[in-house]
């Protein structure tokens, strides 16, 4: 290998993993053999595009909220992630014990989460819904947990969504249902480190 081809040793694998091939959509063949169907030639007027886009946003928002809030802890107050918590502690084990004592729910918080995680505390809202709040790389995240009827052993029925400046991920596992809410600029994967080690995720 010549000097010029000695690319950065850590960057190359990252690029190769991030630039994998994908299958072409089946629609591509139709667009090649039936070029008259080319959407660019029959593009609707810009105003109609905007109207359809706005309608799509509203419809998608309503559907996602209806689905997610019907089955998972309602992350009420997503815009209020900075409001005070009922029990403040920077120790995950204390928060876990407090929640278990108050509600009977056992949230599998790591006793010593990743150094990117900074615990803030927890609150119990109506119907026994728990909010565990923490920071992940200085961005606020909340894990909402409530009892569910399910008896699933793995993460099931995962719903990913977003609204305003918050991204959410909802799932059920065991007798509990979870919704993780993070600020849009934060990493959902990073927020998972409150319960998972890096090794367990990778």
């Amino acid at each position: 290998m010549s000097n010029r081809e000695k690319d950065n040793q850590w960057l190359e694998p990252v690029l190769r993993k991030g630039l994998t091939r994908v299958h072409a959509p089946a629609e591509l063949w139709d667009r090649v053999v039936l070029p008259r169907m080319d959407s660019r030639r029959s593009a609707p007027p810009p105003r109609l595009v905007w109207m359809l886009a706005v309608a799509s946003v509203v419809t998608a928002s309503v559907c996602a909220v209806a689905v997610a809030w019907g089955h998972y802890p309602n992350p009420a107050g997503l815009n209020g992630l900075e409001r005070p918590v009922e029990f403040r502690s920077q120790r995950a084990s204390d928060i876990r014990a407090w929640v278990r004592q108050r509600t009977g729910l056992d949230i599998p918080l790591l006793a010593h989460p990743s150094s990117t995680i900074e615990m803030i505390g927890a609150s119990v809202a109506e119907a026994g819904r728990v909010e565990v709040r923490y920071r992940v790389a200085n961005q606020v995240a909340s894990l909402f947990v409530s009892a569910s009827d399910g008896r699933l052993s793995e993460h099931k029925h995962v719903i990913r969504g977003s609204m305003d400046n918050v991204t959410t991920l909802s799932w059920s596992i065991g007798p509990q249902a979870y919704t993780l809410a993070v600020q849009r600029t934060a990493s959902l994967g990073g927020a998972c480190l409150v319960c998972h080690t890096t090794e367990s995720i990778l």
Partner: protein, 190 residues
Amino acid sequence: MVLNDNDRELIEACQRGDQDAFAVLFAAHSAKVYSIALRYAGDPAAAMDIAQDTFLKLLSNIGQFRSDASFDTWLYRMVVNSCLDYQRRKRKLLPILDGVIDAVCAVQDTVLHDLLRQERHEAVQDVIGKLRPDQRIVVILRYMEELSYEHIAEIAGCSVGTVASRLNRAHRVLERRLSHLRRPGGFTRV
């Protein structure tokens, strides 16, 4: 790459207007063309336009292809030109669908792995998309298609030194912007 007899027959059939042969050729190369377009444009709709444009050019120009040339290089050059054409005619549209609810239902136990992989792909795609077009296409050909500097130079119509220089500049940008992926194990820090 030199054409083998089967490839030569296939291309000659395409040159005679045999649609079945074109379907075989399309099936063999559609993933490659679409993937380059997708990684270049970062948007599936734009990638469809670029891939369609490439195959329409292929269809109309295949009669001019000489069987002693490399079909792969010819096709790469076509998709690269389509990417650069797209860049030239691209209009700056507001990312109006950026805030659209993105609801994905999955029933699998590898959700965390998928989440991490998706975030890593998005980070790489995002940074690649911000490279200059000439650097972006070189990075895609190098790391997705695993092409040599010499082959990239042939496709891009420039010298090997220019390819090395573009890659070098791209590396410096990518190293800086993807440094959060550098931790052992590649976990995306936030």
